[in-house]
């Protein structure tokens, strides 16, 4: 049984790679992709702003309160809270938590959109028209994710800081000036590069894994729903694995 699962895993991975390769062939006119790309930008980027803001605000606030709770020694300056929250936000909270949340919102949406196109023969209609459906459906979503995710992560990082500052001031754990001093004292430019590398990687994973799950749906509405769930689960797992690998390689 484990052997079968392993073989199935290899088969799926191979099929995923072949789909990726296929999605870069048979390109149509740029204008067609541009329209899809802008549409996806609105869907992935603008429509996620509120959700990302709310989650980031609370993540920042909770991290600040919990860090303050753990720092009990009077010899540790209050600014350390700002340093810890800021570094955590840049290295982990903004890119990873935001991507895990977006895997749910965007990943399920991509899988269900493409999956419902598959079961309602819309993908067949594209193929009969001589259009490479993999390129048409996956490429705009992939490039959209690669652009939208870093922007959303930068935005999330900013809001995490705002959440931290508000919670620190509100609870009296750390005032905004101390928070800012701490945040700046441990800041390194490479942290931002690392955050953006993570964002691009996670955007790539979510868009392609979800597209793969939707593209090969067989059956009806029930299978579309299952593929949507599978897209979120697999994307989240892949994000966590990639998170570890990137940290190990780049830090």
């Amino acid at each position: 049984m484990p052997m079968n699962l392993l073989l199935k895993g290899f088969e799926d991975f191979g099929q995923y790679l072949l789909l990726l390769r296929r999605s870069f062939t048979g390109l149509l006119r740029f204008r067609l992709y541009w329209e899809l790309w802008t549409h996806e930008q609105i869907h992935m980027g603008r429509d996620s702003l509120f959700l990302v803001a709310i989650i980031s605000l609370f993540v920042g606030a909770v991290t600040t309160v919990q860090t303050a709770y753990q720092i009990v020694s009077p010899f540790i300056p209050k600014s350390t809270i700002g340093a810890i929250v800021s570094t955590s936000a840049i290295l982990e909270l903004a890119p990873t938590v935001t991507s895990l949340v977006l895997a749910g919102r965007i990943g399920s949406s991509i899988a269900s959109q493409i999956g419902s196109m598959r079961v309602s023969e819309q993908i067949d209609a594209l193929e009969v028209m001589g259009i490479n459906s993999a390129t048409y459906l996956i490429l705009p979503r992939l490039f959209s994710a690669i652009v939208a995710f870093p922007l959303l992560v930068i935005y999330a990082c900013f809001i995490v800081h705002i959440g931290g500052i508000i919670a620190g001031a509100f609870t009296g754990a750390v005032n905004p000036t101390q928070f800012a001093i701490g945040a700046r004292s441990f800041f390194e430019g490479f942290q931002i590069t690392f955050m953006l590398i993570k964002a691009v990687t996670f955007g790539f994973i979510i868009s392609t894994v979800s597209a793969y799950q939707g593209y090969f749906v067989r059956g009806g509405a029930l299978e579309v729903g299952k593929s949507s769930t599978r897209a979120v689960v697999v994307s989240c797992l892949m994000i966590l694995v990639a998170d570890y690998v990137l940290a190990q390689l780049l830090l």
């Binding site: 048979g26 309602s120 023969e121 819309q122 193929e127 009969v128 028209m129 001589g130």
Partner: protein, 249 residues
């Protein structure tokens, strides 16, 4: 060029063979029908012809070109001349009716937007749905969706028109209207029309050349005239199929 010929098409799904060595010639300007009971392989054969499924053996000739061995350029050129009406209509949900019909024109031609819009208006008018460009597929009835699907299929003046169960699930009046439209379009554009159906009324009304499939095998083929002439000598499966409809006694 618009003669369509299939030779020795066989198809397996895993260990199950669903098509057995099927050969047939589809003629231009005629409605060529693939008939047979549900599950006999009609849609699989149609998908093999248009390239959605690759058969294990056989050849599909569009004119002189073997589609299965054609270069990507040749395939693109053939597909450009091919329109297909799907059983589910397969309209793009995220696009309006106008955008759906304009889609093949935008992909394959570099015409100005005004020309595209005029063509869209003509195609919709041709199927009796003038002025619904701004509606979304979700706002249309089943019959209207099929007609929009037909309008999209003829947008590029195709030489080959494929219809998969064009009137299944529709009320009799709408079903007959769809049949009439397919007939009119075949006459007007001189397309090689291939209709897959198990609706015998459609076959009797418009079928000119007929291929009868039974359990993946081509059991009978010929013209409608031949069918009526040989009514007493037809293979038992076809005879049963025809008599089950009650249209032939």
């Amino acid at each position: 060029m618009s003669l369509l010929r299939i030779e020795g098409i066989s198809k397996w799904f895993g260990a199950t063979q669903v098509l057995y060595d099927i050969s047939f010639t589809f003629y231009p300007g005629q409605i060529n029908m693939i008939i047979g009971p549900s599950g006999c392989g009609k849609t699989v054969l149609l998908k093999c012809i248009v390239g959605l499924i690759r058969p294990e053996t056989g050849k599909v000739f569009f004119g002189d070109v073997d589609f299965l061995k054609a270069s990507s350029e040749q395939k693109r050129s053939i597909l450009k001349n091919l329109g297909m009406l799907f059983q589910s209509s397969a309209l793009f949900d995220s696009m309006t009716v106008g955008e759906n019909v304009a889609f093949p024109l935008r992909v394959f031609t570099r015409q100005p937007e005004k020309v595209i819009q005029d063509r869209v208006a003509y195609c919709l008018e041709r199927v009796g749905l003038a002025g619904i460009q701004a509606k979304y597929p979700a706002e249309l009835s089943g019959g209207m969706k099929r007609r929009v699907g037909l309008a999209r299929a003829i947008a590029l003046n195709p030489r080959y028109l494929f219809c998969d169960e064009p009137n299944s699930g529709l009320d009799p009046l709408t079903a007959r209207r769809i049949d009439e439209l397919i007939q009119e379009i075949t006459q007007e554009f001189q397309t090689t029309t291939v209709v897959v159906t198990h609706d015998l009324k459609s076959m009797l009304d418009m079928g000119q050349r007929i291929l009868f499939l039974y359990q993946g095998r081509a059991e009978w083929q010929g013209t409608r005239t031949q069918l009526f002439r040989e009514l007493e000598a037809l293979p038992p499966n076809l005879s049963n199929f025809l008599h089950a409809s009650g249209l032939i006694r």
